[in-house]
């Protein structure tokens, strides 16, 4: 399943956004339902997220890794999560682009699901992803504004 999401950070320069989304503490605050977020190696984190949207409900434990960093333009975000409803394996390409209004962040992810997530969640998953990513970027927006 492909998930595409775009968010525009109005009036915030690209460098600021980059810094914000690389900040471990910011990430922990911004990730919806984040219960723990521990750096286990450079750019690799062990996390616990509580998600409850429709059938996608429960605590997900997983590994988050950032690779192929090309500051301040792009990076790849690899997420492997596991919870009662099933497993998530996501490979997301994140692009930051300077535009007139500020910075546009484009996320393009290939997501593999198993279990109830696949059989029940697939239908609502892109909607769920939109909500989760929307909340996340809104929080990043707030955090980044304080740095401008």
């Amino acid at each position: 399943m492909n998930i595409e999401h775009t968010y525009t950070f109005k009036g915030i320069p690209r460098e600021v956004i980059w810094r914000t989304i690389q900040d471990k503490e910011v990430l922990q605050r911004a990730l919806p339902g984040c219960k723990s977020f521990v750096e286990v190696a450079e750019d690799a984190f062990a996390s616990e997220l509580g998600i409850s949207i429709g059938p996608v409900k429960g605590i997900f434990t997983g590994d988050v890794r950032q690779v192929d960093k090309n500051e301040p333009e792009s990076y790849r975000l690899l997420v492997k999560g596991k919870g009662k409803p099933g497993e998530i394996d996501a490979d997301a390409n994140m692009f930051l682009e300077e535009i007139e209004e500020g910075t546009r962040l484009q996320c393009s992810a290939e997501v593999k699901l198993t279990g109830v997530l696949a059989s029940v969640g697939q239908r609502v998953m892109s909607g769920v992803a939109k909500v989760v990513l929307g909340q996340f970027f809104k929080e990043i927006d707030k955090e980044a504004k304080q740095l401008v």
Binding site: K84, L113, V116, A118, S119, V120
Partner: protein, 781 residues
């Protein structure tokens, strides 16, 4: 006493069921009973690296957790029961729990046993399984390719079997004036009985007897197969099918889960209950169909069909199910020419392993697919040469005088009169008037269409020596015992085991008419291997034709013996005794008589029996028919397609079925209605869809569109009666007519409606989106 056979008696079973006095598997409560659940693979294809059950075992109430490795050497693989000969069949062993590799989403990985259902689930989630995922093989055509991932390493090209029957000489095709080639996909569907699967095991360590209650359409087959899997003698294994909420073929299969429950009950010496959840049913219960069917049909411009070439590529799933291999070969491949006198026909079937849930028989099992391709192909051929769909059918169908009719693949159809239901159905629908109205409506931009299906199916399994010849691992005869008690009531023991069909009613009617006693005096016993000597199950529309015949023969034998006793008491010869409506009387002296009850008493008391006659009044029959039965009929669908939305409205549905002798028109109509809902469901709504990763994307009733009653018009049904000569009742079987006939009738009707757009085929199910796209594309041309 009035006639009983042929009357619309209300079902004997219903008072019990509708007042909540039925006993389904989940109603069974046993002292000390444990609960079980199976942890299933979330991956379509993966290596099991490690299973850690430590945390799970700490959950209070957990009694045992078994993995595939724990069971190695203790429990055998669950085999298929249909080794179709001459097709290089390769069976991969299916162990009840996967040992080192999972092969479909739903493959069992661990069995959890605990004191309560909550503890079972809590523990199940704490089992940590480390998988290394592998690429899955999903679609059957792709999985046959050289570079496809292998489901079983030693089975090349994932080819489970390769079967051929019949030949079509090349020159016949070359000489044909017209031909059509078309590929159809008869998609995977879920039988979806209202009750999911279940099993309860109880072991008595004192006697060594294992009792297994399970949702089986064929408890004796379960006993035979599980006796081998669990290494226990058949005499020590008792299988009982409790009341069941449907099966539709999905409960023919002997499943790993049932073996696991039996194993655990014996291992722990405590009763164990497993009730399948609905979402689990969508991953672990066998599905039906999933066949890609490529058809070539050849003929002349006068409408004569000269040849038919068919290739079926069948997705069998990860393992061979109980009946799986027979579906696309014997059941499908020998019936491809339907009711038509097509001189040459050939069928080539590829059975393909994939990383999906196994497929098995589903209501009709091969015949709906077979009927689908021929009834669609004949319509396409008619369109090609500009002929009316009814006319082409009349030109090619076997005539009354052709019976017993031998089809191109060599099957001998028992009896038939195809014109009879066709004429009746055409009258009911008023065909000429419809065509006139259709012209008018088309002028006004309305898309209405009519579709036909003139079908025949292979039913009433069957002659046992043929079963042996086609590799089926069972006999297909039936037995019945009619036992008359001292005060005149009767218990009838039957091999064939019901799960919603109403055997107690129809079989009761047969006995009531034979013995001249009221229905209330007749009790039927089924579904318990300890009470009934043998039985081969309820599937293939066989229960009345084979089991009912056995009941009729046993009842006749009771009468024969009773006549001898009556003659003795009335001091006349047996030849002078007449038995009518429950009274034995002397020819010419009707006042000299004995009632059935009086003879029942005499026989059981045995105070005064004739020389050489043993006490009691009881007879058994073991009936093995000489041939299959071939029900037939004409179904007609009338539809309207909304060209703006692609929505299809089913306006009328006419079904005229000839199922031979109808024992009870009410229950027979019920069978037709249910079959229609499922067959029309296949055409319009239902369909299991897998992602390319092998995940079932249609795992709930939100995504898998089961039809609702309001989707249908009032079905207009009728029967014609052409008796079968191969059984004493003359019955042909009614259970699968609906699914066999209706799917192509609907498709043909929709294609007729879409004719103004030149649309010839759309893949099932005909969702509004697909229909709308087809219309839009054709408008864009």
């Amino acid at each position: 006493m009035t006639k009983v056979v042929g009357t619309r008696l209300k079902r004997k079973e219903d008072p019990k069921l509708i007042t909540g006095h039925g006993s389904f598997a989940d109603d069974i409560q046993l002292p000390g009973m444990l609960h079980a659940a199976v942890l299933r693979s979330p991956h379509a294809h993966a290596v099991i690296k490690k299973i850690n059950v430590e945390e799970a075992l700490k959950v209070p109430g957990v009694v045992a957790i078994y993995t595939g490795k724990d069971l190695e050497g203790k429990i055998g693989p669950v085999p298929t029961s249909w080794y179709v000969p001459d097709c290089d069949l390769k069976e991969a062993p299916q162990y009840p729990l996967a040992i080192d590799r999972v092969r479909y989403v739903g493959d069992g990985v661990a069995l959890v046993i605990a004191e309560g259902r909550y503890a079972v689930k809590d523990a199940m989630y704490l089992i940590d399984v480390e998988y290394e995922t592998l690429s899955p093989a999903v679609g059957q055509k792709e999985s046959l390719k050289d570079n496809a991932p292998l489901v079983h390493d030693d089975i090349e090209n994932n080819l489970a079997f390769h079967w051929k029957a019949g030949t079509v000489p090349e020159e016949v095709c070359e000489k044909a004036e017209a031909s059509v080639k078309q590929s159809f996909y008869v998609q995977r569907v879920a039988p979806s009985p209202i009750e999911t699967r279940a099993a309860i095991g109880r072991y008595n360590p004192g006697t060594g007897e294992l009792t297994l209650w399970c949702t089986s359409q064929n408890p004796h087959i379960h006993r035979m197969v599980l006796s081998e899997v669990l290494d226990i003698t058949e005499a020590k294994l008792r299988v009982i099918s409790p009341d069941m909420g449907g099966g539709f073929g999905g409960k023919i299969g002997v499943y790993p889960d049932e073996a696991l429950v039996g194993f655990a009950a014996r291992d722990l010496c405590r009763p164990v209950k497993w009730i399948e959840e609905r979402s689990e049913h969508f991953t672990a219960a066998n599905f039906g169909r999933d066949e890609v069917i490529d058809v070539e049909i050849y003929g002349q411009k006068d409408g004569t069909i000269t040849a038919l070439r068919v290739t079926n590529t069948h997705n069998v799933g990860a393992y061979l199910s109980t009946m799986g291999p027979g579906v696309s070969t014997i059941d499908f491949g020998l019936m491809i020419t339907g009711i038509y006198k097509i001189p040459y026909a050939s069928c080539e079937t590829f059975g393909v392993y994939t990383n999906t849930t196994p497929t098995d028989a589903y209501r009709g099992a091969g015949k709906p697919e077979s009927t689908y391709q021929i009834e669609r192909a004949i319509d396409l051929f008619a369109k090609e040469i500009g002929m009316d769909p009814v006319e082409i059918r009349r030109i090619n169908m076997a005539q009354k005088e052709d019976f017993p009719f031998t089809n191109a693949q060599g099957l001998v159809y028992d009896s038939g009169d195809y014109e009879k239901p066709l004429t009746k159905a055409l009258e009911m629908v008023d065909y000429q008037k419809f065509r006139e109205e259709q012209k008018e409506l088309r002028k006004r931009g309305k898309l209405v269409g009519i579709g036909f299906s003139t079908y025949v199916e292979l039913c009433g399994f069957g002659p046992s020596k043929v079963a042996g010849g086609i590799g089926f691992q069972g006999g297909i005869w039936e037995n019945a015992t009619v036992r008359v008690h001292p005060r005149g009531s009767v218990t009838v023991y039957c091999g064939t085991s019901p799960h919603g069909q109403g055997h107690a009613t129809t079989f009761g009617q047969i006995v009531s008419e034979k013995l001249g006693i009221p229905m209330d005096d007749i009790e039927l016993v089924f579904s318990d291997t300890k009470s009934v000597s043998m039985g081969w199950g309820t599937y293939g529309s066989r229960s009345v034709a084979v089991g009912g015949s056995s009941v009729a023969i046993a009842a006749d034998r009771v009468i024969d013996k009773a006549k001898k006793i009556a003659a003795h008491e009335l001091e006349v010869s047996v030849e002078e005794i007449v038995f009518e409506e429950g009274i034995f009387s002397v020819k010419g002296s009707p006042s000299l008589q004995r009632t059935f009850k009086e003879i029942a008493k005499s026989a059981n008391m045995a105070w005064n029996l004739p020389e050489g006659i043993e006490p009691s009044l009881e007879a058994s029959s073991y009936f093995d028919p000489e041939n299959f039965v071939y029900p037939f009929g004409t179904h007609i669908a009338v539809v309207e397609v909304d060209k703006e939305t692609g929505q299809i409205e089913l306006k009328r549905y006419v079904a005229v079925d000839d199922v031979g002798r109808v024992i009870n028109p009410l229950t027979a109509e019920g069978q037709v209605h249910g079959g229609l809902a499922q067959g029309i469901g296949q055409a319009l709504w239902e369909g299991i869809v897998y992602s390319k990763d092998g995940q079932n994307l249609t795992g709930t009733f939100m995504d898998y569109a089961m039809p609702k009653a309001r989707f249908f018009p009032k079905f207009e049904t009728a029967f014609t009666e052409t008796l079968s000569p191969v059984n004493p009742i003359g019955a042909k079987g009614v259970g699968e007519t609906g699914t066999t006939a209706s799917t192509p009738a609907i498709m043909n009707a929709v294609m007729d409606a879409l004719e103004p757009y030149g649309i010839k085929d759309i893949e099932m199910p005909l969702t509004p989106e697909k229909v709308w796209r087809a219309i839009s594309e054709s408008e864009g041309k």
